[in-house]
C-alpha cells in the first residue's frame, strides 16, 4: 500500500481493489473515470486525497478509489466533509453525492457548505431518481414523471441545483453529462483547482429506474439541445453550429446565427453571475439547450476553511499563545491559605 516515488500517477493509481458494484450500464462508471482523470491532473498523491460520500448508489464511490475515503450517513456528507476540510485544509477533499442525498435529506448541509464557500470539490451525480431505494422520485425529477411513489405523476416542482447554488453565493458552478468523460474531467479538474466550493453537477443515467432521462441531451441530436459554454467564446451551438444565444432585455434567447449580427451573439463570461444564472436555468423543457461546462467561476472569494485558520492565527498574533494556567486562573479568583504546624514550627501554605 506504500506509495513509491516512481509510481505512475495515472487513473489506475487512484483505483482501489474493490469490485465495483454499480449496475451494468450505470452512468456512474463514466463519472468515476472523469473524477480519476481530474485527480491525475491535480497530481496530488492519493494519500493526500479524501473522498466523503453520503448514502445512495453514487455514495459507494469512495470504496472504489485508492484514497482516504469515508462513506457516511444519508445527506450529511457536506457537513462531515466540512469538519474534515477544516481539520486538514491541505487535503483535497471531494464529496460524492446523489441528487436525493444532496438536495433532499442533505439540502440544508449542502446549501450551507456552498454559502460558506468551503473548499470542497462537490460532485453532485444527478440521475433524477432514487436508485438505491428502488425508484422513487427525487427533488430533481421532472413534473409529471411516473415513479413508484408517484404512479399518477410528480406534482413537486423540481429544483435546479446550479441555480440554487448561484443564488446562495456559490463560487464555482459547472455541469457535465456521464457520457462525455472528457468534459467531466475538464470541469472536475477546474473545480478541484478552484480555491472554494466547487459544484460539479454530473447528469447520470440510471439504467434501471430512470433509463433515458437524459436521452435528449446525449442522443445523436445532442448538439441541438446542449451548449458547451467556454469562457471568452461565443455561445454558439447546434448540430450545424447554426444556433446561438443572444440578449433579450434582461433575458437570453435562442436565435439562428444567420438571423443576427455577429456582435449580438453573447460571449460567455464565467465571472458574470447574472449571465451564469440565466445559463444554468436553461432546460430543454423550456425549449432551450442545457448549458454544460464551467458556467460560473469566482476565485476571489476567500474560503471558509482558509478563514477559520486565518482567524485563529490572527487571535494568536494579537493575544499571544497564553499558557494554560493563565486561562484557568482568570476571572474572580482568590487564594485560601492555611497554617500548618508541626514539631519544627508553623508555616502558611
Amino acid at each position: 500500500m506504500t506509495t513509491t516515488v516512481n509510481e505512475v500517477m495515472d487513473k489506475n493509481y487512484f483505483t482501489s481493489k474493490a469490485e465495483v458494484k454499480w449496475c451494468p450500464g450505470c452512468g456512474d462508471y463514466a463519472i468515476i473515470n472523469s473524477v480519476k482523470g481530474a485527480m491525475v491532473n491535480r497530481a496530488k498523491p492519493r494519500d493526500e486525497v479524501a473522498i466523503v460520500s453520503g448514502i445512495g448508489c453514487s455514495s459507494r464511490f469512495p470504496y472504489y478509489m485508492e484514497t482516504y475515503g469515508f462513506h457516511t450517513i444519508h445527506g450529511r456528507a457536506a457537513a462531515i466533509a466540512s469538519g474534515l476540510k477544516v481539520g486538514k485544509p491541505d487535503l483535497d477533499v471531494w464529496v460524492i453525492s446523489g441528487d436525493g442525498d444532496s438536495t433532499a435529506i442533505g439540502g440544508n448541509h449542502w446549501i450551507h457548505a456552498i454559502r460558506r464557500n468551503i473548499n470542497l470539490n462537490y460532485v453532485l451525480i444527478n440521475n433524477k431518481i432514487y436508485g438505491l431505494t428502488k425508484g422513487q422520485y427525487s427533488p430533481t425529477s421532472e413534473m409529471g414523471q411516473i415513479t413508484k411513489t408517484t404512479p399518477y405523476g410528480v406534482i413537486d416542482y423540481p429544483m435546479n441545483p446550479l441555480v440554487t447554488a448561484l443564488g446562495i453565493g456559490g463560487t464555482f458552478v459547472a455541469r457535465s453529462i456521464d457520457k462525455d468523460v472528457k468534459m467531466g474531467e475538464e470541469i472536475c479538474t477546474r473545480g478541484a483547482n478552484h480555491p472554494g466550493f466547487s459544484l460539479m453537477e454530473m447528469y447520470s443515467n440510471c439504467v434501471i429506474f430512470n433509463d433515458g432521462a437524459h436521452d435528449k441531451i446525449t442522443g445523436k441530436d445532442k448538439a441541438d439541445f446542449t451548449i458547451h459554454v467556454q469562457h471568452g467564446k461565443k455561445l454558439i451551438f447546434g448540430v450545424e453550429n447554426n444556433l446561438c444565444l443572444v440578449q433579450d432585455g434582461f433575458r437570453i434567447k435562442m436565435a439562428k446565427v444567420s438571423d443576427v449580427a455577429e456582435s449580438a451573439i453573447i460571449v460567455h463570461d464565467e465571472t458574470n453571475l447574472q449571465l451564469a444564472t440565466l445559463l444554468a436555468d436553461m432546460a430543454p423543457s423550456k425549449g432551450q439547450p442545457v448549458a454544460l461546462g464551467v458556467i460560473y467561476c469566482d476565485p476571489a472569494k476567500k474560503s471558509y476553511d482558509f478563514m477559520v485558520h486565518e482567524q485563529v492565527q490572527q487571535v494568536i498574533a494579537s493575544k499571544g499563545e497564553q499558557p494554560l494556567d493563565k486561562l484557568l486562573r482568570a476571572g474572580d479568583t482568590w487564594t485560601i491559605s492555611t497554617t500548618l504546624c508541626n514539631a519544627s514550627g508553623c508555616k502558611t501554605v
Binding site: 462531515i80 469538519g83 485563529v312 486562573r329 474572580d332
Partner: protein, 612 residues
C-alpha cells in the same frame, strides 16, 4: 435605639427575584463572588424564564437567582431562602411562599402601586395586609432612594433607575457583613474606563445602600458567616458550562491536539460554545453549523482529521444527533458529546433543569450501539469530567457522552483551579507508519482500533457506516462477522471500567439505606446524607459519576445495604438501569418540576424508608 447585633450562622440562603433586566443576576453573582472571596463556600442557581423579555411586572417574567453561603461545605444552592429580595409585587407573588417561616423579605416599596399589585392578583398591599404575616418584611423605597442619591448627577431618569440594583447590593453587603471594597473594585473594573458616569453613579448608589443599612434601625441584626474550612489553594468562581469549556481546552493542550468544536446554539448548553469561541488563541476551532446534525457531523469530520473533536448540545439536539452518534460508534472514532440536560420531552422546559436524557444517552440510537456515559456532579466537576471524557475517547477510540444539566451548567461554585502541570498528559497515538496497516486491528487490552488520519503517507483506506470486517474495516455483511463486531463494541465499552474509579461511599460501608445520586443530584444527596449521618442515622450515599460502565465495586456496595434509594430529576431512569443490571428493588424519589432537589426532600424520603 438598640444595639445592632451580629448573628452567627453557618448557612444563609438568599434568593433574588425581579423583572428580567432588573439586574438580579448581576447582584447575585456579585454577592456570590464576595462571599467566595471572604472564604465562605457558595453555590448558586440562576433561574430565568425562556422568554427573552417577558412582560414587566408579571409573574411569568420573573428572573431569579438563588445562592447559599456557608461556613461549612455547601453542596446546593440551598433548600428554602432565608432572605428573599423581591423587587416588585410580581416577584413577591412568585417567590414568597418558598421563604422559610420567619425569613426576611426585602422589597422595593416604590413598586407597590395599585396597578402593579392588581396585575399579579394582590387585592391590597401584601406587605401590610397580612399576606406576608410571619415574615420579616423590609419595605424599602429603593427607587426613591436611588433617585435621591443621584439627584445631582447629570443622567437620564431611566439610567438612574437602572442603578437600583447597586443600592440593593449595598444594603446586602452591610447585612451580610462583607467587604464593600471588593464591590467598589468591581464597579471600577467593569464600568470605570468605558462608562465613567455609570461607574460614578453605581458607586454613589452602592455607598448609599451601605449607609442605609448602617443608619436605619430597620435591621436589628447583621449576619456573620465564618469562613468555611476549605481546602487551601487557588480558587475561582465558575459555572459548569465554563468549566466544561475549559476542561476541553485543557484536554486539547495536554494531548497536544487541536480542539474542534462543531455545535449549534441551544439552551442551556450554548455557553460552552461561547466560552470555547473566546479562546482561539489556544488554537481552538469552533464551527457554528446550520443545525444540530451538522454540528456533530462537523465534529465527526474533525475526528476523522485527527482533531480532538467535540459537539455540545441539550436534549432535543441530542435527539437530532442520534444517527450521527451511531456513525461515530461504528466508526470507532474519538468524539466527545456534551449534553446539558433540560426539561423534556421535545422542546419541554428549555431553561429548566432535568435529568431525563439518561436513557437517551444510553440507548438513543439504532442498533446495539454502546456508548460510555459520564455525568458531572457539580459546576466545578464539569472541568475534570470534560477532561476525562476526552481521555477516554482518545484512549478507546469511541464517542463519549458527557451529561451535565441546566442546574450545574448554569450554576456556579468555587473551583480549586488545578495547575497545568498537575493534569495528566495523554497521547492520541495515531498510526504513522505500518507496512501492514489494518484499520480495525486492535489493541488487545483496550480493544481500541488503529487510526491513520488522512494525509498519512501510504496508509490510505476506506471506512464507513456499513458493518466492517473485523480486521480490515472493509464492508462486510458476513453474518458471523456482525456478531463478532457487535460483541467487540460492547466489550470495548464495558472494558472502560478499568479506567473508572471505584465509587466512594459517603458514610459507613454498610447499613440500612444507600442513597445513589448521579450527576447534578450529587449536591442535594451529599448534603442530605451528611445531615442524616450527623443525626446518627444508618444511611450512606454514593455519587455515580460514571453510568456506563458503572464502577466495578457498585454491585458489592449495593449488596451491603438493606434498601437503595435513587433520587432523580426524572421518572426513574437510573433506577431502570440499576434494577436491570443488579436485580435490586430500588426505591425511586422522582421530581420533574424544572427544579433541583432540596436537601429536605431527600431527608424526608430516607426517614420514611427508615420508618421514622
Amino acid at each position: 435605639m438598640g444595639q445592632i447585633s451580629l448573628k452567627s450562622v453557618d448557612q444563609v440562603v438568599i434568593k433574588f427575584t425581579g423583572d428580567s433586566g432588573d439586574g438580579m443576576q448581576l447582584v447575585g453573582n456579585q454577592l456570590t463572588a464576595l462571599a467566595a472571596v471572604s472564604g465562605n463556600d457558595v453555590n448558586s442557581l440562576p433561574d430565568y424564564p425562556s422568554e427573552i423579555r417577558a412582560p414587566a411586572g408579571t409573574v411569568a417574567g420573573i428572573s431569579g437567582f438563588q445562592i447559599a453561603l456557608g461556613s461549612r461545605d455547601i453542596h446546593t444552592a440551598g433548600d428554602a431562602p432565608d432572605v428573599l429580595v423581591a423587587m416588585n409585587p410580581a416577584a413577591v407573588q412568585h417567590s414568597y411562599k418558598h421563604v422559610v417561616k420567619g425569613g426576611m423579605i426585602i422589597t422595593d416599596s416604590d413598586m407597590f402601586t395599585e396597578k402593579a399589585m392588581e396585575k399579579v392578583g394582590f387585592k391590597s398591599n401584601p406587605c401590610t395586609d397580612g399576606t406576608l404575616a410571619g415574615y420579616d418584611v423590609k419595605s424599602i423605597p429603593f427607587t426613591t432612594l436611588t433617585r435621591e442619591a443621584l439627584k445631582d448627577l447629570d443622567m437620564g431618569p431611566k439610567d438612574k433607575d437602572r442603578c437600583k440594583n447597586f443600592f440593593v447590593l449595598g444594603v446586602l453587603v452591610w447585612l451580610f457583613n462583607k467587604n464593600p471594597q471588593d464591590v467598589l473594585n468591581f464597579i471600577n473594573t467593569k464600568f470605570g474606563k468605558k462608562l465613567p458616569k455609570i461607574a460614578e453613579a453605581n458607586t454613589i448608589v452602592f455607598k448609599a445602600g451601605l449607609n442605609y443599612g448602617e443608619t436605619t434601625v430597620m435591621f436589628q441584626q447583621r449576619y456573620d458567616l465564618k469562613a468555611a474550612t476549605i481546602e487551601p489553594g487557588f480558587y475561582r468562581n465558575i459555572t459548569g458550562n465554563e468549566a466544561a469549556a475549559l476542561g476541553l481546552i485543557a484536554a486539547a493542550k495536554k494531548s497536544n491536539m487541536q480542539l474542534l468544536l462543531g455545535s449549534y446554539p441551544i439552551t442551556p448548553a450554548t455557553d460552552i460554545l461561547h466560552e470555547v469561541s473566546k479562546h482561539k488563541n489556544f488554537g481552538a476551532i469552533t464551527m457554528q453549523m446550520e443545525d444540530e446534525i451538522a454540528g456533530i457531523c462537523a465534529a465527526i469530520g474533525g475526528a476523522f482529521a485527527g482533531k480532538l473533536a467535540v459537539t455540545t448540545t441539550s436534549g432535543p439536539g441530542l435527539a437530532l444527533k442520534g444517527e450521527a452518534l451511531g456513525l461515530a460508534v461504528i466508526m470507532e472514532i474519538p468524539l466527545v458529546i456534551v449534553n446539558v440536560q433540560r426539561g423534556g420531552p421535545s422542546t419541554g422546559l428549555p431553561t429548566k433543569t432535568e435529568q431525563s436524557d439518561l436513557l437517551q444517552a444510553m440507548y438513543g440510537r439504532n442498533g446495539d450501539s454502546p456508548m460510555p456515559v459520564i455525568a458531572a456532579g457539580s459546576p466545578d466537576d464539569c472541568f475534570m469530567a470534560a477532561f476525562e471524557a476526552c481521555q477516554i475517547a482518545i484512549k478507546y477510540r469511541t464517542p463519549v457522552l458527557l451529561l451535565t444539566d441546566g442546574y450545574i451548567g448554569q450554576g456556579s461554585c468555587p473551583w480549586k483551579v488545578p495547575l497545568e502541570s498537575e493534569l495528566p498528559s495523554f497521547e492520541a497515538n495515531f498510526t504513522k507508519e505500518d507496512a501492514d496497516f489494518k484499520s480495525y486491528r486492535r489493541d488487545p487490552e483496550t480493544l481500541a482500533r488503529n487510526i491513520a488520519i488522512p494525509g498519512t503517507k501510504g496508509l490510505q483506506h476506506r471506512v464507513g457506516s456499513l458493518e466492517k470486517d473485523v480486521l480490515t474495516g472493509a464492508v462486510s455483511h458476513v453474518p458471523m462477522n456482525h456478531q463478532i463486531m457487535t460483541d467487540i463494541r460492547k466489550n470495548k465499552v464495558a472494558g472502560i471500567v478499568r479506567d473508572v474509579p471505584n465509587a466512594v461511599v459517603n458514610g459507613k460501608e454498610s447499613g440500612k439505606v444507600l442513597v445513589i445520586g448521579w450527576g447534578g443530584t450529587y449536591g442535594a444527596v451529599k448534603g442530605a446524607v451528611d445531615r442524616l449521618i450527623l443525626q446518627g442515622k444508618s444511611v450512606s450515599s454514593i455519587n455515580l459519576r460514571w453510568i456506563n460502565p458503572f464502577p466495578a465495586n457498585l454491585a458489592k456496595i449495593i449488596a451491603n445495604f438493606d434498601k437503595v434509594l435513587i433520587p432523580e430529576l426524572n421518572t426513574g431512569q437510573l433506577s431502570v438501569l440499576i434494577r436491570s443490571q443488579f436485580l435490586v428493588d430500588t426505591v425511586s424519589l422522582n421530581k420533574v418540576q424544572g427544579d433541583p432537589f432540596r436537601e429536605y426532600e431527600v431527608i424526608d424520603k430516607v426517614n420514611e424508608m427508615l420508618g421514622e
